[in-house]
Amino acid sequence: MEAIETIRDAVVEAVSGAQVEIIPSTPAAAQPALLVDREHVFAVAQLFKEDARWQMDFCSCVTAVDYLPKDDKPGHIEVVYHLYSVARKQGPVVLKVRAPRELEQCRVPSLTPLWRGCEFQEREAYDLYGVTFAGHPDLRRILMWDEFTDFPMRKDYEPPADYEWEPTPHDSTLDRAKVAGGVVPPTALEEKKK
């Protein structure tokens, strides 16, 4: 594969108006990513798939990362795509796209029309992170049940307090153990006995 800067320049030249930024990775991973704006990510992905230079015919992984607000910087949800070319035996190209954390605005275009394999993985990202993929053919929960309303992999998710005793509770576990111990209502049998 070419250097990431070469790819970036080629993408910016081919897709007019696309904001493409290089996100460096650790030297060990050696997988710098391309951060693309939401409006142009579909066109950029299509370029990677159809252009003879890359022929990215395989999207191996779709996931999301939750970044909480920090030091006055607003948080965001980052959706990550890993693209490979089986035809040219090369890859990956890591595409990233960011959306605000607020549920109504947390929308990115779906890449399922390009790679059918994205369908379940985008459903998983929707299920666990609450990212709405515009253009997805069947966007509903895949792991949690349909009635579930939370997005449990978000960092501000609070699990239900169905917690019981454990041998060495501490910190937040201790608080939860105290709550669980405090709200035990009597059973119907115990009520009858009274």
Partner: protein, 215 residues
């Protein structure tokens, strides 16, 4: 028993056995336990190994795994019970004819195991159905499952048909079905069947220092 022990032994030598009906009944039940054929995670692999030739559960009369709850006596909950799967597990248990027993196999089925802190795993199947034998281990070895079957056999052998301590299915007002939890917006509703399971209250009463107040 009214029959003299010496006379009983003497008659046994001639092939005549005298014993209470209860004992005969329990003996026949415990010697032919039919488990329900279903597994939820890696513990199921150990359960399969127990039933196969190397460990040979057939030696204990429990090798006929039935693929329908209608024909099963024993539910081996082998693996992680996710909250999404919990209603189906309770429903299968309800569909089994009585007398019926439950073995909770492995750390996950007992308490949630390594997934106890997770949002998606039931923190022990005994929150919804009555468990007779718990097997610790992650996963328990086939020998442990066989030991649990033997423990269950001892339990069956000691059950009474008439006394006050008889099992729930011999009580006219004993529970026959257990409520199936519904999928709620944040958790199962209810999250626990308090008729079956209670949190250990003495231990949840913890002080700020994390030292337990003695009840």
């Amino acid at each position: 028993m009214a029959v003299d022990e010496g006379l009983k032994n003497e008659m046994q030598k001639h092939g005549v056995f005298i014993l209470p009906f209860e004992q005969l009944y329990n003996w026949s039940r415990k010697s032919s336990i039919w488990p329900l054929q279903f597994g939820l995670a890696c513990c199921a692999i150990e359960m399969i190994a127990s039933a196969a030739s190397r460990y040979d559960l057939a030696r204990f009369g429990a090798e006929v795994f039935r693929a329908t709850p209608r024909q099963a006596d024993l539910m081996i909950v082998a693996g992680t019970v996710t909250k999404k799967m919990a209603p189906q597990v309770v429903r299968l248990f309800n569909q089994m004819p009585e007398p019926k027993y439950v073995i909770s196999m492995g750390a996950c089925a007992i308490s949630g195991g390594p997934f106890k802190d997770g949002y998606n795993v039931l923190k022990g199947v005994d929150r919804f159905i009555p468990v007779d034998v718990h097997i610790p281990g992650c996963p328990p070895r086939p020998e442990a499952l066989i030991h649990a079957i033997m423990t269950l056999q001892q339990k069956i052998a000691g059950q009474h048909l008439e006394a006050d301590v008889r099992p729930r299915w011999y009580h006219r007002d004993g529970p026959a079905e257990y409520p199936i939890p519904a999928f709620g917006e944040h958790d199962l509703e209810p999250a626990v069947n308090r008729e079956v399971w209670q949190p250990p209250r003495n231990y949840t009463d913890v002080t700020n220092e994390g030292i337990y107040k003695k009840a």
